[in-house]
Amino acid sequence: MRTRIAVVLGVCCLLWTVEARAFDDFEDLEDSDSGDSTEEFFVINGFIQNQTGIFFSTESNKWEQVKDDFGNITEYPIDHGDKLGKLSMMRTTLQLEADLKPAKGVRLRGVFRGVRSLQLEVDEYAQPPDPGKTGGDYVAWVNEKYYTENRLREIFIDIEAAPWLDLRIGRQQVAWGDMGQYRLLDVVNPTNSTWHFPTLENYDDTRVPLWMFKSVMEIKPLNGSLEFIWLPLLDNPEETVTVPLTFVSAWGLPRSPKQEYESGFNIRKKTPRYPGHKIEDSRLGARWVGSLGVLSYSLVYYWTHQITPPIPTGFVQLYDPTRGALEVDRSTGNAVIDEVFLDYPRQHIAGFSLEYAFQSPVSTIVRLEASYTPNATYPAVSSAEKTTPDYVDGQDLYTSLLTYEKHVASWGIQLMRPTFIRFLNPTQTFMFVAQALHTMVLDWDSKERYLDIPNLDSTETKQHSLTLVGAVTTSYLHGMLAPKIVGAYIPGPAPSGFVTAQMAMLFGNHWRAAVGATMFFGEDPYKGLGLFRDRDEVFARLQYQF
């Protein structure tokens, strides 16, 4: 690790020889150095905050008992819950952000985050990759692995290498795309939203920073800039992909319901085969950002891995020499799967975004974003045919699981309008936001059956899916109170969605607080946002910043 850091810093030093300057929206009009009176050699800021939440859903746990041919009874969940009154989170975060400006055109930035959390009883229902534990073990495992953190999240150097070239090298975040919520093009960094429902947290906090090289080249004649990123995947391989939401329970996906196909397998271990630490696993991307008058646009291409969800691609059954056959569970007679492999296949993502602000009286900002993936990989439903080679007696058996590679296109539109409702708020606008997202499998074949979420047959992929989001926010008392309401709706045969209401508060320069409540709804507890219908929550955040 030290060697890698030394190499990166060495490259930085080499590049730190050329004086800087920037970008120019207007052709032939040079940039200027303003002689900034606020420039400081070293600045450190940060905050300490506590987030606490309690589930208040009355949805209850319901189970169905199924008797097999041998009279064995197996319980399958037909609803999920058992969370009423339990903690959804109790998380304390210390974050420190430091900026060092050792020379003109050079900046070093570091962000440290330390997190401690209480163990949450609801994590007894987590589904970690090694399921050979008891519920209590899961609680400790989730807390240690996902809720606890002590790390330098970001550490990078910015170098203005030439009047037309800026470099950023180090562990960092890259935010592409222009729309909130859907993140069609915000795909460079994986995310970790295990501690809370992702919509309620800042992207800044949920993105997992990665080591990368980023350059931004200004191309004046075309009135735009070209951004290039290279991710050598020096990071811990587990952090190069989005944390699967099955691994935790408080805000994770519930246990799978009774599958259409009863496999009769006992799974001993799931092994994610994370990409990373190999040059061939590098990820590359480029973005062109330009403007045509007041129309802003970007074009994006990214060669990456499918960072979510992990795709089960095969499993191994062990040869049991004492039986002279493949291993079985002697109590149930079920075949034992020793290891299931979860893969993150390679993926291309291309897309574009447009942004345009209409003048009064329309006074609306319109954002359009679209992405195309020619090789999105989906896992087949559990009843799908499996590819099993001829068994060789006396050996372990590897079986491949069926997956589908599909052409997928998504597009979203966002309308944002500041609007006065003077009798409610005389001098502050209400910001209304409406969004729609449509995803379509282009080479759809109704005979093929595959899943949005592996192992959840209830999430069988549809040719078209639509999500609608609305939000409104304003502020009162000179910004000391800022109410916000956000809602999402997924139409269809089993409609689902959520509504969250939040009040953010300022107290002086140091104290910040927020309280809120979120309610989920869904006709089917295993479809869409119905997966979270046992997660109605009241939450509070108290922060001291310095």
Partner: protein, 423 residues
């Protein structure tokens, strides 16, 4: 008949000659009487060195706008009196005023708010010796501010009951004259921006506190009275998103000040109906003697003593046009604004805003310091203060540093700048 024609032609020539001679005579020395009028430098009750407070405010009542008198008599504001000193703009601005004299013409836009109300204006003061409120308003809009500036300042939210609620630190950079320039080349305009009708570029960003640090915006303003357009960098998203900057009648950053209250009036002339109520001498802080810098803010504002917002300023007799501005918009927070527009600088040192019921709501005070060199730079921003008399709440803006004519270039005012300045 021929004699009549000759006589008429001779008269015309004389009028043109006299007019031209009179126009050519605008200089730094006679700026005041040529473009506005001189104040009464020693009005009754005025005494250099006196300190006006509640006990003796009656002696200068005739020299005080009603809002200021209220602040003195009810909110313990003190006025330190100093002698009148004339102010003139830079040589370049005076030259431009002479060069383009008589060319600018107002256009009657009636009740329309999105149509341009001025034509043939190139640079300098568009209407020396203005004849009506609209001309005074255009003079304010194109008053001499230099061609660009950089303002590093604090923002304080203050309650009369509880004192300072919170504060922030901001920087505001602007090319206030991308066209109509007089001081720094290119004069009179950046052609590329003139072609796009962009007359103003600004970059603003927060320095403190932590949750605002990294927030920034770049925006542009057009010759046509359109909404300001630009990008806002959101640190929590790490994105710069396109936004309308400042909806009409919206508070700036949740302060007591609307976007249109900035610098006295940051809206478009076409958005209001203007009327001169009177021309008079009042006391105003045009050489306010305000110390600048973070260390000096406690010397400028008495944050500790009720009502916690009073500034220590020097006030002098100033010639002002008392101008009433009534919004053309049906839905606007103010029913009218009374602006005390300085007849030398055409700045707005004092402004009173009235609510929809016609009651006095807010008083705005803009205090200025001497120019470093009047021949090359404008008066420096000293401080600004907006007081909401109904809520007994104020927003104060102490100056940490202000420089004009710094040579800012348009290339700085774009999306990539705020992206680089952000996280």
């Amino acid at each position: 008949m021929l004699r009549v024609v000759y006589t008429a032609m001779a008269a015309l020539v004389m009028v043109v000659a006299v007019t031209a001679a009179a126009h050519a005579q605008i200089t730094a020395a006679n700026w005041t009487e040529k473009v506005g009028f001189k104040p009464d430098a020693n009005p009754p009750g005025f005494k250099v060195g006196a300190v006006i407070d509640k006990s003796n405010v009656a002696t200068v009542k005739a020299l005080l706008p009603g809002g200021i008198e209220t602040l003195v008599s009810k909110y313990a504001l003190k006025l330190w009196l100093t002698a009148y000193k004339p102010i003139h703009p830079s040589k370049g601005f005076i030259e431009a005023t002479n060069k383009y004299l008589g060319q600018a013409k107002t256009i009657d836009t009636g009740s329309k708010t999105r149509e341009r109300g001025l034509e043939n204006y190139t640079a300098g003061l568009p209407f020396p010796d203005p004849k009506n409120g609209t001309e005074v308003a255009w003079n304010f809009l194109y008053a001499y501010n230099g061609d660009d500036g950089k303002f590093h300042y604090g923002v304080y939210w203050i309650s009369a009951k509880t004192g300072v609620e919170r504060w922030e630190e901001w920087v505001w950079e602007f090319i206030i004259r991308t066209i109509h320039r007089t001081d720094i080349e290119p004069i009179p305009a950046y052609d590329a921006l003139k072609e796009k009708d962009i007359q103003y570029l600004a970059l603003t960003y927060a320095v403190q506190p932590f949750d605002k640090r990294g927030f920034g915006a770049v925006y542009r303003r057009y010759l046509d009275p359109k909404d300001q357009e630009g990008w806002v960098y959101m640190p929590s998203m790490r994105r710069a998103i396109q936004m309308k900057i400042g909806s009409t009648g919206e508070a700036w950053n949740s302060t007591d000040m609307l976007y249109e209250d900035v610098r006295g009036y940051l809206g478009y002339v076409e958005w209001m109906n203007w009327k001169i109520l009177e021309k008079k001498t009042i006391l105003a802080p045009m050489h306010s003697g305000v110390p600048v810098g973070k260390e000096a803010r406690d010397k400028v504002f008495d944050f500790k003593t009720w009502p916690h917002w009073n500034p220590k300023l020097q006030w002098e007799p100033r010639p002002v046009y008392v101008v009433e501005a009534k919004p053309k918009f049906k839905s606007y927070p103010y029913s009218k604004m009374i602006m005390y527009i300085d007849a030398e600088t055409f700045f707005i040192p004092i402004k009173e805003n009235y609510d929809r019921k016609g009651n006095l709501w807010k008083v705005v005070i803009n205090a200025y310091n001497d120019s470093k060199d009047m021949n090359s730079g404008p008066p420096r921003i000293g401080t600004s203060l907006t007081i909401d008399l109904q809520a007994e709440h104020a927003s104060a803006f102490p100056s940490y540093n202000y420089e004009a004519n710094t040579g800012l270039k348009p290339g700085r005012f774009n999306k990539s700048t705020i992206l680089k300045m952000g996280k």
